[in-house]
Amino acid sequence: MPNSNLTEDVKKLIITSLKLDKAPADIADDEPLFGGGLGLDSIDALELAVAIERTYRVTIPDEKVGKQVFASVSSLAKYVGENLA
């Protein structure tokens, strides 16, 4: 279970890197990041992956992993937490 700080930080990263007009509280932990209410597309996924790489030094190696990892904030925070150096 990723610590709540990481989940919160990931939400903030999503908001700042994708320039969303939202607060962290507006994004549910289990809300789908893509194909859902946030209205993000595949290029946003690209940008988010770059932001994750730069901020946490964690890579998303391919699209397959990406699909799983980007399913929700929880899955993303879990992946980052597990892969932090």
Binding site: I43, L46, E47, V50, A51, E53, R54, T59
Partner: protein, 250 residues
Amino acid sequence: MRRALVTGGSRGIGLAIAKKLAHSGFSVVVTYAHDPAGAEAAVHAAQAEGLQLTAVRCDVNSPHDWQALLGRGTPLYEEGVAVLCHAAGFTRDKLLMMMPPAEFDDVLGVHLRGGFLAAQAVMRGMIAGRWGRMVFITSPTAELGRRGQCSYGAAKAGLGGLMRSLVWEVSRFQITVNCVCAGLVDTALTGELPAAVHAELLAGIPQGRAGRPEEIAAAVDFLVSERAGYITGQTLAVDGGLAAVHAEPF
């Protein structure tokens, strides 16, 4: 200070571009593949003009070389490359029927696949920095064709398609992607043209002369500048009027 990477920047058009961008204040890295001594000489000569260039070996058609140059953890990755100009390339002119498939591949590899790999290598940094300029050097052969250049024409035309598709992916990050179509320019690439062929080419150019590498560089310099931010997906021809004349139905 933004960093610029010019492939094939150790000689010819690439070198002129590298020098121009250095003059404009970019921190310039040039790649070379075959001639380290030539690259070193070019760096020294530029230095004598007060221009700082860094030369690195990179076969643009090698994902391994790009990984070594711009992969995660490398200095260039950390700093990010804001400007890419893909000027690397050679010709292997032959009539299609006589062309060994491997030579077709080589030409496609350096110009087209090399351009793709270069774009891929610099993309992360440009997205992270939310600013970027990519310029691919193309040729009138792409649209007009030229005997013996089916591989070169295919590769250069391909860059146009790549550029246009990329525009749809990267525009939101303030990254522009354009082509500069360099007409006849006297460099090592065209230096071996027989005099008769050279004369024939000149006859088709309204200005009646070859272009100078600096004239190509000037176009690239403009496109990568801050003030060219609304120009993307374009091919700017610097060719003494060559393509315009051929486009005229008569």
